[in-house]
């Protein structure tokens, strides 16, 4: 069984999406040129989600990738809701009031977000009313809390993350009279999702990360070469600070059982996540909700199962770590991606591949034999590899697709090997997850001229 290059392309391109920030005669100068995104499923259905939107009542753009586990329900809910929570957190008091008044009097609501969605990125119609009500409660509280201070982006991001996770938890505890919705909120709460979200406003780039997805900045050095700067820390067992944090939050007696086999309580890979109430609620609460819940939930072994050594919940938080970065002209692009990408590729390679793709320039030094001993065969291998590197660029119109092609198809030389690509993509559903994870990528391209102009103003 062998996929032809066009078949491979149709698989790789099925979910690709590109957005270019429109230029309004130079007035709406955005530091973002646009973005490319794409995802390649390994799970069926895919558990990753992505979101992108422009804030309409404040400045800035939001982009995020969400990696679900134990189902896709939580990732789906977070991808629909999180940006509203962030946008609302960023809104000034007057705007919040205006919105509340509009809702109160049944007037048309000011639009808050303009979504940039692939046709496959769906929103749940059934839950929209429920979600809206929770959101409204949040902004009403913000109005009541009116601190009078200008909103700090970092704080807003943290608040939004925490609030949404809290709402997910509450909705599951309260339940819903509609049995479909009732089951939905429970599935959302019992599944989990990591989130890596970028907020770009002018030269201010904030990354809020919860879990093990990653944000990486592509920087072009003066000599034209590419380097990678991490803008997030993975929240997993490999991160010493995370391990330390978790241990700090629990009594010494649990120290040994907290992290086992690089997993939280020996079960969960990410150390921070949305949902996953099994790691947040008390045992009593879990039992009560499951028992009173619908039969499907009751019959599910996973939900009934209580993690071992579960003494002092919560063990898990959705609070993000926020990194602020002032964009510089040499910062050319940002890559947000779920761990499916980072497992297969080093960030330095990611920076180079995307950088060369975006600039169309391949910093391949011309080869000279000079005094070296090179055989025809060696030279041939080297040249075909260089050629493959260039030719794969021309196949893709989307930087994210191009990255996925490399992530899945790279051979030992770091070049795309069609045979390997074909094999990896034609794996049967039940085997796919063993060889690769869901991959979701957003590549945001910055406008260096605009960023340069901002810098000069300051």
């Amino acid at each position: 069984f062998y996929l032809t290059p066009p078949q491979v392309n149709s698989i790789l391109k099925a979910n690709e999406y590109s957005f270019k920030v429109p230029e309004f005669d130079g007035k709406n100068v955005s530091s973002v040129l646009g973005f490319d995104s794409n995802q390649l499923p390994a799970n069926a259905p895919i558990e990753d989600r992505r979101s992108a939107a422009t804030c309409l009542q404040t400045r800035g753009m939001l982009l995020g990738v969400f990696d679900g586990h134990a189902g896709c329900a939580c990732a789906q809910a977070v991808s629909e809701r999180l940006f509203y929570y962030i946008a609302v957190s960023l809104l000034p008091h007057e705007t919040l009031l205006e919105i509340e008044n509009a809702v109160e009097s049944g007037r048309a609501l000011l639009p808050i977000l303009q979504w940039h969605k692939h046709p496959n990125d769906y929103f749940s119609k059934e839950a929209s009313k429920l979600y809206f009500n929770s959101l409204r409660t949040y902004w009403q509280e913000l109005i009541d809390l009116n601190s009078g201070e200008t909103t700090d982006v970092k704080e807003a991001l943290i608040n939004a993350f925490k609030r949404l996770d809290n709402d997910i938890s509450l909705e599951a505890q309260v339940g819903d009279p509609n049995s479909f919705l009732n089951y939905l909120v429970l599935r959302v709460a019992f599944s989990g999702a990591t989130a890596c979200v970028a907020h770009v406003d002018g030269v201010d780039l904030h990354i809020a990360n919860t879990g093990d997805s990653r944000a990486m900045l592509g920087v072009q050095e003066e000599d034209g070469s590419w380097s990678a700067v991490n803008l997030s820390y993975d929240h997993n067992a490999q991160n010493e600070h995370e391990v330390k944090r978790v241990k700090m939050e629990h009594p010494k007696s649990e120290e040994k059982s907290l992290v086992k086999q690089d997993r939280l309580l020996g079960l969960l890979m990410p150390f921070r996540a949305f949902g996953d109430v099994k790691f947040k609620w008390s045992i009593e609460l879990q039992k009560r909700v499951v028992e009173s819940g619908p039969d499907q939930l009751n019959d599910n072994e996973y939900t009934k199962f209580i993690p071992p050594n579960y003494h002092t919940p919560p063990y898990l938080t959705a609070e993000p770590e926020v990194i602020h970065h002032k964009l510089r002209p040499q910062d050319k692009f940002l890559v947000l991606a779920t761990d499916g990408l980072w497992e297969t590729m080093h960030r330095q390679d990611v920076a180079r591949i995307v950088g060369e793709y975006l600039t169309g320039v391949h910093h391949q030094q011309p080869i000279a034999v000079g005094g070296y001993k090179v055989t025809l065969g060696q030279m041939h291998g080297l040249l075909t590899e260089r050629r493959a590197r260039i030719s794969s660029v021309f196949e893709d119109q989307n930087a994210a697709t191009h990255l996925i092609r490399h992530a899945v198809g790279n051979n030992e030389f770091g070049t795309v090997d069609h045979e390997r690509l074909s094999k990896m993509l034609s794996l049967p559903e039940e085997l796919a997850r063993m060889y690769r994870d869901d991959i979701t990528i957003i590549v945001v391209q910055f406008n260096s001229h605009v960023i340069g102009a901002y810098q000069n103003e300051e």
Binding site: P366, I367, M379, T384
Partner: protein, 882 residues
């Protein structure tokens, strides 16, 4: 490494062989940068100055001095054989498509073989043979066609199987081959040393050679070369020869009177390796793998392999930006496809160690043929350049022909395909050249199928009707920069299919052209023939008539309004041009010649017309749009449009009259066609072109008028045995040899060019005869189609080659035209060809190695002529009846 390589390729012992010469130059060679005074100063004058010390310059010097011209100075800006010549791969290959190129290569091979013995300079000549591989059946057909040509020239050559290839060369992977052509006498040389050997011999014959002397420009007075200006002073001379290789274009443009030499350099790469573990034998055949775009020869126990990539890199478009070509960069990424092809062909070479990738610029020309001959604008200015990377193969022969040209006034062979005058200023745009050579270089390896057209440099010269015709489905070809219609694709036909009509077999336009031919025979067709060259010659007195009577063989002293078909002959009676001349008034003439005559004919007439201002000549090609109305109903269309009777009684054949057509007045209408069908030529001032065309098409509707193209025209003229200049006729063909004595008026009361030669032929007979062949057992649907250049066999013996061919829709047979010679069976000497000799033979035409029976005819089928004959044609048949 580069310097090392130079030493490897260039055997320095040549200097010892020539002490006289060493005195002049050797002190320069060891130290390159120090500016020592030149030991020998330049002469103040010489008969010939040759610029360029590569293979071309030295070959011209060698041959000129052999032919007895001694007062020759050769100038080289750097060192002898240090340019492309030094870097080139040194393969002498006779496998060429064009027969004149084949002859040059064959001569070169024989010359180089004995050069070492003649001069004492080691040339590195090794007879290795060459094997051209075919990966496809089409390629094999192409090779078989060449093999047929080589065989009849007496050059050993055979088509062999892949297995035989493996026996001849141990390294070749033969799995993807369908066959090959083996030419056992092809050779390898050290090209620089061949050049040095030629220089040595020339020097011994008295040629002065000066290195490190560059020509800045050529001095011209009254259209003649008078001298050259160099960085070391002036030399007065009568002849200048531009052999400056890739710099020839610029040198041509450096003087006040520019000489257009359309060529352009491209980078060319080849690979050198260290020797194999078991070094390759020095007599191992050279491999040419055109489908892989590569050649591979043995080189010092290792290999040398290069090729002609699909994406060439042109260079020096904006002119010369560096003197030395040695420091061009290697580009391995660019070479990758060729390296892949090499390793596919010889997988065992994987472990072979690379020595160097050489970047050696080569110059290419717009039509893939080299450039030779005298400038049409500056007398005494000769050119030999643009070798399309076959400089070593052509060097000897090309130098010989050019030397003959200078000494005798014309070479011993027809070199029109290589003549500088086939080009005009229009091929000299840098942009045109850059684009065209990027197409030409890959073509070196591409399959040459009949009737392919260049894709670049198009739509330069067009008729005012171009858009109208294009919108009606016209498919175009190009001649001398002019777009001409091949045929019209009827609406609804699949265009993609038709554009891929590249085949050695029946083409897919077959039925389309068939219906155009049918319409020409039964109704009326319009063909735009605006590309033809048109001159007006007039004088205040009778000088025009007198001059033309001298220049043309037919009698031009005809009543005003008559048209005369006549040859413009050279001293040997050969056709320099074949044209129609209308006498517009007592003192003015309108002359129509083939499209590619524009430069040649102009130069010829300029040289021979009296220099006084009484005779004026004007090129009016651009002023007139020419429409040919062909067919029995043409007369009806035209008379309805002009309200004038056009029947033969009122408007006899070969008549010319200015009249109105539609609203437009002053249209020159001539009752001639170029196909033998009834019809008219309309010469329309261009601003009326669209109007007249529209009128003709509207009026013609009821007579079933339609557009037709040149393919229909060709079929019609060939089935009627009409010869065309440039295809069938050349400077070595006389009217007597092609049944056209009726167009020669030996007794017209005055002398004309070529008269003596023709008289002599009339008395003693001719040595070749233009003959028409009807293919008998040829299956149009299944067999390979003839093209031109196919060998003709009479009673099993080779007697000549075809010059053109076409399918006759009327005869439903293929018709080939060609020349029959009579070679003595024992001596090979040429004997007189009589009518009996032609008639009493069994003929076969060899198409790619397969022979088809053919019936020979010396006169056309009279049944094909539907219209009444005029006096001229009566003469034609009576002559042919003799």
């Amino acid at each position: 490494a580069a310097a090392m390589f130079l030493r490897l390729l260039s055997d320095v012992r040549w200097r010892a062989a020539n002490p006289k010469w060493r005195r002049m130059t050797c002190s320069r060679r060891s130290t390159s940068s120090t500016a020592e005074p030149h030991p020998v100063s330049l002469p103040a004058q010489a008969q010939v100055v040759i610029c360029g010390g590569g293979i071309m310059g030295t070959s011209v010097a060698y041959h000129l001095s052999k032919m007895g011209w001694k007062d020759i100075v050769l100038l080289e800006q750097g060192r002898l054989a240090a340019g492309t010549t030094r870097f080139c791969a040194g393969i002498v290959s006779t496998a060429r498509h064009v027969s004149i190129e084949l002859k040059m290569a064959d001569y070169s091979n024989k010359l180089y073989q004995q050069l070492e013995q003649e001069t004492g300079v080691k040339t590195g000549y090794v007879k290795t043979g060459s094997i051209s591989l075919a990966q496809t059946q089409d390629r094999l057909i192409s090779l078989k066609r060449i093999a047929s040509s080589l065989n009849v020239m007496g050059i050993p050559c055979e088509i062999i199987t892949p297995k035989q290839v493996a026996q001849l060369h141990p390294l070749i992977n033969i799995h993807d081959l369908v066959g090959a052509m083996y030419v056992p006498e092809d050779a390898l040389v050290s090209s620089a040393n061949v050049s040095l050997a030629l220089a040595t011999a020339a020097s011994r014959n008295g040629v002065q050679i000066h290195e490190r002397t560059s020509v800045s420009h050529v001095l011209v007075q009254k259209g003649r070369v008078t001298g050259v200006e160099t960085d070391r002073g002036q030399i007065q001379c009568q002849y200048f020869v531009n052999c400056a290789g890739q710099w020839a274009y610029e040198l041509g443009h450096s003087g006040e009177e520019p000489v257009n030499i359309p060529l352009h350099a491209c980078e060319h790469f080849y690979l050198l390796t260290h020797p194999l573990k078991e070094p390759l034998a020095s007599n191992l055949p050279t491999i040419v793998d055109p489908d892989g775009r590569i050649y591979i020869r043995n080189w010092q126990g290792g290999i040398l392999s290069g090729g002609f990539e699909k994406n060439p890199k042109p260079l020096f478009t904006e002119g010369r930006n560096q003197l030395e070509i040695h420091n061009l960069q290697e580009d391995w990424d660019h070479f990758e496809p060729l390296l892949s092809a090499l390793l596919r062909r010889m997988p065992d070479l994987e472990a072979l160690q690379i020595m160097q990738l050489v970047n050696c610029p080569e110059s290419f020309t717009p039509d893939m043929r080299c450039i030779m001959g005298e400038s049409p604008t500056v007398r005494g200015y000769f050119v030999l350049a643009g070798m399309n990377s076959a400089g070593i193969s052509y060097g000897g022969g090309a130098g010989k022909y050019l030397a003959e040209w200078m000494v005798n006034g014309y070479p011993s062979e027809n070199v029109w395909p290589l003549d500088l005058k086939r080009f005009g200023t229009l091929q000299s745009s840098r942009t045109f050249l850059r684009h065209r050579v990027m197409e030409v270089m890959p073509l070196m390896c591409d399959l040459k199928v009949p009737r392919w057209d260049f894709q670049t440099g198009r739509q330069l010269r067009t008729s005012p009707l171009y858009d109208r015709l294009d919108a009606q489905g016209a498919r175009w070809m190009e001649k001398h920069g002019f777009e001409r219609v091949k045929y019209f694709v009827p609406p609804g036909k699949d265009l993609l299919d038709l554009d891929q009509s590249k085949t050695f077999y029946k083409p897919d336009w077959f039925d389309i052209v068939g219906s155009e031919v049918k319409c020409c025979k039964e109704a009326v067709c319009v063909i735009d023939m605006s590309s033809f060259t048109k001159f007006e010659i007039s004088s205040t007195g009778d000088q025009a008539l007198e001059s033309l009577q001298y220049l043309f063989s037919n009698d031009l002293d005809v009543p005003v309004g008559h048209v005369v078909h006549t040859g413009m002959l050279n001293e040997k009676g050969g056709y320099e041009n074949d044209c129609s001349i209308a006498r517009l008034s007592k003192r003015s003439f309108f002359m129509i010649s083939p499209t590619d005559q524009q430069v040649h004919c102009w130069a010829w007439l300029k040289n021979l017309l009296p220099n006084d201002s009484n005779v004026t000549m004007e090129d009016v090609t651009w002023k007139y749009t020419a429409l040919n109305l062909i067919g029995p109903r043409a007369v009806d269309v035209l008379s309805e449009l002009s309200y004038a009777p056009m029947t033969p009684e009122h408007f006899p054949s070969l008549f010319c009259k200015e009249m109105s057509v539609g609203y437009a007045n002053g249209i020159r209408v001539m009752s001639i066609t170029h196909t033998g069908e009834p019809g008219f030529m309309l010469y329309i001032p261009i601003e009326y072109a669209l109007h007249v065309y529209n009128e003709v098409m509207n009026m013609g509707q009821k007579y079933g008028i339609r557009n037709a193209g040149y393919y229909a025209l060709r079929s019609l003229r060939i089935e009627k045995f009409f010869a065309f200049w440039g295809q069938d006729l050349d400077a070595f063909t006389t009217p007597m040899e092609c049944g056209r004595e009726f167009q020669v008026k030996l007794e017209k009361g005055m002398e004309f060019v070529g008269q003596e030669a023709l008289l002599e032929q009339k008395q003693n007979g001719v040595y070749k005869r233009f003959t028409m062949f009807i293919l008998e057992d040829h299956d149009t649907d299944r067999d390979l189609w003839p093209w031109w250049g196919e060998p003709i066999f009479r009673n099993g013996r080779y007697v000549g080659k075809t010059t053109s061919s076409a399918y006759s829709y009327t005869l439903e047979r293929h018709v080939c035209l060609g020349f029959v010679h009579h070679f003595d069976e024992k001596t090979g000497e040429q004997l007189v060809v009589t009518t009996d000799f032609i008639n009493q033979g069994e003929y076969e035409i060899d198409i790619a190695g397969q022979r088809f029976q053919a019936k020979a005819k010396l006169y056309p089928f009279s049944s094909l002529f539907t219209h009444r004959r005029r006096k001229d044609e009566v003469e034609l048949s009576s002559y042919q009846g003799e």
